[in-house]
Symmetry: C2
């Protein structure tokens, strides 16, 4: 494709996307495709001869779109929204156009240095501690996902545990600590890192706050020590995936510090809320105790997936765990020690110029614009929660500190199991309608509906319509 052809076709694609957003409400939020349906609409064999990009766009419209669940739809309230925004999409497009490999400083210095700048900017915007800054002992890096960030933290924790796991492998039993509400990525990291799912201990949660119980953590650590295991990492969550509950980071950190256990703070969803000074309390204990900290601009901060930020208080054990330098990658800059090679800060070797999209977002929105987005979505969530609270037919889970509201119809005439079944049927009916998309979770064995607000497309009337639709259906 010549530059001139790219210019022509690229503008068609931009128009396609602009039209898509302008007309997004015409699509059912959740795809109605049946398993295998989309595949059946595509040729079984690849084309022998090249086709035009027009053909690609035509098939996108006709064959693929019916199989797309529209994550950017204003009525998408499922999971946690993964926000896109114009500046992010265009920053990412620039990254694609430049086609740069950022595995090392030397392979494209701007890719590394812009990343350093934006992760430091974001640390400042979120009020994170000075030692997370790159010019200190720590530093930040863009990962693809919080799961990868958790794994990197786990590898650093294993390395710091003094067993030289990178070299000798796992030679003792290492224990990781979570609560029942911690994201499954910690168990997954345990599986990947050779710790094993059986060595993930589940610390009790406070039944009211759902926060991890630091005394029980202390007991489990003591039991593991007595048993000859190596207590290695605890994960405290700020904003759990299920209900946005918050672990007591400071109290957990005190226990962890006492035993030399790595504290990873998973604030994948909620951490970005700290752009608002009035929400900065969520960072309590992070400066004093967190060895690593993760939050995802690709969830609630208007930056296309993938953009998950990991900061470390001390980058040395991570680099020890992950650094290898074969001859064909040797270069003067690396050997000078004056530069960062982010390949040593992540699982893959290669990396895209992901900082461009975050840079575009931080610049085009500015701190003000980001705060407005967080405050606006929280305000909508509060308003929705207010309607739920006032309706005697519904139960609301409180508190709801962010932009997720968990609730359920009371169905007080029914036994719990039947009420749950009704709630599930309600969920299916709502999602099948195509008018909105919610997901569910379970708490104390009971089904709860989750309504998460995050899209910049979502306005008050969408949330109101969702509530009316839910109430009608219940």
């Amino acid at each position: 494709m010549s530059p001139e052809e790219f210019r022509r076709v690229g503008k068609q694609v931009v128009d396609w996307i602009a039209d898509y957003y302008a007309g997004i409400e015409q699509h059912p939020v959740r795809s109605r495709a049946e398993p295998g349906e989309i595949r059946a609409g595509l040729p079984a064999h690849p084309p022998e001869r090249g086709e035009s990009f027009d053909d690609v766009l035509a098939d996108l419209d006709e064959v693929l779109l019916p199989g797309v669940t529209h994550w950017q739809h204003p009525n998408f309230f499922a999971y946690f929204p993964a926000n896109a925004s114009g500046p992010a999409v265009l920053g990412d497009l620039l990254s694609g156009g430049l086609g740069v490999q950022g595995m090392m400083w030397a392979t494209s210095p701007a890719c590394t240095e812009l990343e350093t700048v934006v992760v430091d900017w974001l640390a400042e915007l979120l009020g994170l501690p000075e030692h997370f800054r790159t010019d200190s002992t720590g530093g930040g890096v863009i990962q693809d996902s919080a799961s990868s960030a958790t794994l990197v933290a786990c590898l650093a924790a294993l390395q710091r545990s003094g067993q030289d796991v990178a070299r000798r492998g796992i030679t003792r039993r290492h224990a990781l600590y979570v609560s029942a509400h911690t994201h499954s990525s910690v168990e997954r990291a345990a599986r990947i890192a050779g710790v094993g799912a059986d060595n993930v201990r589940v610390v009790d949660s406070d039944p009211d706050t759902l926060g991890m119980d630091p005394r029980h953590l202390e007991e489990l650590i003591a039991a593991d020590l007595a048993d000859g295991a190596v207590p290695t990492m605890v994960c405290a969550t700020v904003g759990t995936t299920s209900t946005t509950a918050i672990d007591p980071v400071r109290a957990i950190g005190e226990v962890a510090a006492r035993h030399g256990v790595w504290l990873h703070v998973d604030a994948a969803y909620a951490g970005v809320a700290a752009v608002c000074p009035e929400l900065r309390w969520i960072n309590d204990g992070v400066a004093e105790f967190a060895d690593s900290y993760c939050t995802n601009p690709h969830k609630w901060l208007l930056t296309n997936f993938d953009c998950s930020l990991l900061w470390l208080a001390n980058r040395a054990p991570m680099v020890d765990a992950l650094s290898i330098l074969p001859e064909y990658l040797r270069n003067e800059a690396t050997e000078s020690g004056e530069v960062i090679d982010y390949r040593d800060w992540q699982i893959p070797l290669g990396r895209r110029f992901r900082s461009l999209k975050l840079w575009s977002v931080l610049r085009c929105y500015g701190a003000e614009g980001l705060r407005e987005h967080i405050r606006g979505t929280i305000a909508l969530a509060r308003e929705f929660a207010g309607w739920v609270r006032e309706d005697p037919g519904f139960e609301l889970l409180e508190p709801h500190p962010f932009a997720l509201v968990c609730f359920r119809p009371r169905y007080s005439e029914l036994p719990a199991a039947e009420a749950d079944e009704r709630t599930r049927r309600l969920l299916d009916e709502l999602n099948d309608s195509g008018e909105l998309y919610l997901t569910h979770t379970k708490l104390d064995g009971r089904v709860l509906l989750r309504l998460a607000i995050g899209s910049p497309q979502t306005e008050r009337h969408h949330v109101r319509a969702a509530w009316d639709r839910i109430r009608r259906a219940a």
Copy 2:
């Protein structure tokens, strides 16, 4: 950013990229930035108020571009090129615009099903075995990089070794087998998976072909068995990173099969060459012996990074190793067993709609166009190698089956160490000129220059000019 603003700014960005490609030869190939220089040109603090995208583009031009090494430049011959192409960039733009999460089938069916279709298409185009197809026991998946693919293969191998590593963790010594020419990603996988770098055995290589010696592999496996270790995975390479040497996959496979050792074939660079029937001999032994196979369309097949394909002969041990299903991700489609959830096939949980870019490439080039690209770049490499061979002042490493040529000036009047030093100085001088960009490797302790051809922008006159420049400088 409203759809109309996106339409306007998006077209500016498309123009920016088209202009960038049209004028790419005006840039020095390798950035001349000094450590810290780009960072110093950027504000230390994030903006309080939003700026316009014009400001972003202006800073891209003025501040960032001097720090960019131009991987898409026709005179970029370093590492392995990471090809971009118009269709790939635009397919990726569509992915960004849709902003879809593809972690599970249910989160956007088209994202999963298009991926299944294109990985099956590519398996067919490369003549890979039927059991790599998704409708068989195996299946393919898009990973971010070959390093991640190697890690996933290693986790599947550990799981198949019968120790239930996912659950119990590493409880015995597991051994992995490589040669001195295997990519460092295997050692990295050993570090990450808890196997440990010390348990990576280096099998001897044939001094002529640089291929792994299967008899020595057999000896090392026997020694490990005698020592109580679990021989777990051997990595055979088709096209090593250093010199594109080829391991004898069939002979290695026979040894591996005898001992129940997982055979991973790393064809990250060269595997895509099998789109040409005359190069399909590189697949010898894959159908009979490979448990997993990786090749990167993002290197030599015109698809923007990241797009690394991993196929498995049997997906079950991988899914066993990686699958966890928390309540908030439960859904009917997953529980029906009728769909693929690619989150169980990779390290992260979330995933982009990466198949769109590969689909765009396969459709816009067609099999014919892909073959033409592979054949054209190999022909240029052969012509370059011919010039080197005919020049008495140079030594050429043979064979050079793909589009990488390794060579060095003879400097026959100098002792080896001094000649190497001169070769390094030559490399620096060439790269500092900005006219072209090469990298180096070492073979038998001696420095070799690497010239890799891969960009669709590279024409015969660029390669000729590179040779003239090299000869002049030497």
